[in-house]
């Protein structure tokens, strides 16, 4: 029972209370870069979930055999291998999105969430909890990405997933898309607003 609870919390906690983006403040860089549109944000989220879950499992299997002084290199090799696989899969089946994400799929290797979870969790836990932790953190990251991309695409381009949402009659009345939403600074402000709302509801997370 106790292990079940622990597994559950490994999966659930990163969604809100211990969210990698808005509480641990990791992975902000890609959060600014890929969230101008909803589609690449979703693909990025799924890629990170996959890489994070499987690298967590692999490192967790290897954790007792990795010498401490070269563990970072081993972790990087595992993550880099998985990233290359994801990148090839995207190029094969989602070529357009892969073009849009360009270098950012490759940069998952340097995403702080990856190294953070490998060091903090997978190195000290069994494969199954590590897998759940990877899924949890990946989903926590993807949620924020999707929320940010939702607002940026809706207000910046007037579309969602490439489909026009804001009716043409609005534009005739003088409405205009907010060009600042497409630029990275606005992504930071949207993330800040999410953090603001999140901290308002979770008073124990507020810094003194």
């Amino acid at each position: 029972m106790a292990t079940n609870n622990k597994n559950l919390s490994a999966l659930i906690n990163p969604l809100s209370k211990d969210n990698p983006v808005i509480v641990q403040i990791l992975g902000i860089c890609s959060c600014l870069a890929v969230t101008a549109k909803l589609e690449p944000a979703c693909v990025m989220g799924i890629s990170v979930i996959a890489v994070l879950a499987f690298s967590n499992v692999i490192i967790s299997f290897l954790r007792n055999t990795i010498p401490t002084n070269i563990r970072i290199i081993v972790q990087l090799v595992v993550v880099a291998g998985l990233v290359v696989i994801v990148n090839q899969l995207l190029m094969a089946y989602q070529y357009d999105v892969s073009k849009q994400l360009s270098v950012f799929i490759g940069l998952i290797v340097t995403n702080c969430i990856l190294m953070g979870r490998l060091e903090a969790f997978a190195m000290g836990n069994k494969p199954w909890p590590s897998f759940l932790d990877g899924i949890g953190n990946g989903v926590g990251y993807a949620i924020i990405l999707i929320i940010v991309a939702f607002f940026r695409e809706l207000l910046g381009s007037g579309t969602l997933w490439g489909v026009q949402i804001i009716p043409a009659s609005f534009y005739e009345q003088g409405y205009a898309n907010n060009g600042l939403m497409i630029l990275p600074p606005m992504a930071l402000i949207v993330v800040a607003c999410i953090i603001w709302i999140h901290r308002t509801y979770n008073k124990d997370l507020q810094e003194q």
């Binding site: 409405y175 205009a176 907010n178 939403m181």
Partner: protein, 402 residues
């Protein structure tokens, strides 16, 4: 006056804790202190009391802006009359036309900004801060006259919330609120903030100034024309294609954002601010010095690939928002440097960077806004360096003695 005081005293208990309307305490307090200077002063020790509180300071800045505002109204009408090919310019009709155009923009800026300030003050149970008094009038002055009202509302709301309130309200903001509003509009809705159709209104208002634009009309500002100039000589024209004189530029009878075209009116405002001691002469002087110097350097190495470098230094200072930024934006006491040496450095760099952006970045025909915002970010660092070097100097002196 007495009856007003009596009325306020009578309704005051309602707003005290426990009263019926206690949640509106800050609104009441705001109006009371606005109408009557608070009588509560310190009762012990030696204190010098001056009647100059921040509300009075703000009001003087607003008064200094009035020449620009009035001239903006006249110029809006004048440009419109020019554009429809009129040969006579009836003064009062021109003023009325400009007034109708700008009135709702001022109302929207104040309503949105003060609305947010009031709500935040209620919510935090603090006094209402008067900081928006000046920002509210600055915002319509620095925007093109044809900026849609809802854009002004959105931009004002954005900058009051994210530039002022999240940092803690008036006096804590890092960036100038009015300029961030302008920057937000500039980056969010570029097509409504530059180009042909935004600086000169073409439609009549309330039956005044009906007409259509003449053939050959071009509503581009002088700096806009400079940015697209080709060839070895500059051709600056007014809206119907007649050449501009330096006198036109100085008086401000050129298309541009509402209140910033007239260098003369800005100088009148500067005189009011300097005589009352509100603005720092160090900043104003050093901004103009920096701009003039950079203008000279640019003009010395004039090339057709950077057409703005063909403007003389004196033209650089009178065109665009440079003078307005120097007098009303860079001198904002909250966001400028505080130390006297720091003020010289800050102002000088504002001037240099404004002309630098204007001349060597073809993407931005006007650099004054970005220069002031950039130096706002650096002002605390400048102050820190000045204070540290002062401390080092005095430490050396102390060590030399000992």
């Amino acid at each position: 006056m007495k009856s007003l005081r009596k009325y306020l005293d009578r309704i005051k208990p309602n707003f005290e804790p426990g009263g019926k309307l206690q949640s509106f305490h800050s609104v009441f307090d705001g109006f009371e202190t606005f109408l009557f200077t608070p009588s509560t002063t310190s009762r012990s020790g030696v204190n010098i009391h001056d009647s100059l509180d921040s509300k009075r300071m703000m009001i003087i800045v607003v008064i200094a802006l009035i020449p620009c505002l009035l001239f903006g109204m006249y110029n809006t009408g004048y440009q419109h009359w020019l554009a429809i090919g009129a040969s006579e310019f009836p003064f009062w009709q021109l003023m009325l036309y400009g007034f109708c155009k700008v009135f709702w923009r001022i109302v929207v800026a104040y309503a949105v900004g003060l609305g947010i300030e009031f709500c935040v003050a209620q919510w935090r149970k603090e006094e209402i801060q008067e900081g928006f008094l000046v920002s509210g009038i600055l915002i319509p002055l620095i925007c093109p006259i044809e900026t849609p009202l809802w854009m002004i509302a959105v931009a004002t709301a954005f900058s009051v919330i994210f530039v002022k309130e999240v940092f803690g309200g008036t006096g804590y903001n890092i960036f100038n609120v009015a300029l961030v509003t302008r920057a937000f509009l500039f980056f969010a809705y570029p097509s409504h903030m530059s180009g042909d159709g935004v600086f000169v209104p073409l439609k009549g208002t309330l039956g005044i100034g009906d007409g259509t634009a003449v053939d050959g009309f071009s509503g581009a500002t002088p700096l806009g024309q400079v940015a697209t100039n080709v060839g070895n000589t500059l051709h600056l024209t007014n809206v119907v294609g007649e050449p501009l004189t330096y006198w036109d530029m100085f008086l401000g009878l050129i298309p541009g954002s509402f209140g910033e075209t007239s260098t003369l009116c800005i100088l009148i405002g500067a005189a009011i601010l300097l005589l009352t001691g509100i603005a720092s002469w160090r900043i104003i002087l050093s901004v103009f010095a920096g701009g003039f110097l950079m203008g000279l350097v640019a003009h010395t190495f004039a090339t057709p690939s950077y057409p703005a470098s063909m403007l003389t230094a004196a033209e650089q200072l009178t065109l665009g928002g440079f003078a307005f930024a120097a007098v009303f934006m860079a001198t904002d006491p909250v966001t400028a440097a505080r130390t006297n040496t720091g003020k010289y450095i800050y102002g000088f760099l504002v001037g240099v960077i404004a002309i630098l952006i204007r001349t060597y970045n073809n993407g931005y025909p006007e650099g004054a806004m970005l220069a002031v915002l950039l130096m706002n970010a650096f002002a605390p660092l400048i102050d820190y360096c000045v204070v540290q070097s002062n401390m080092r100097r005095r430490m050396r002196r102390l060590n030399a003695k000992a």
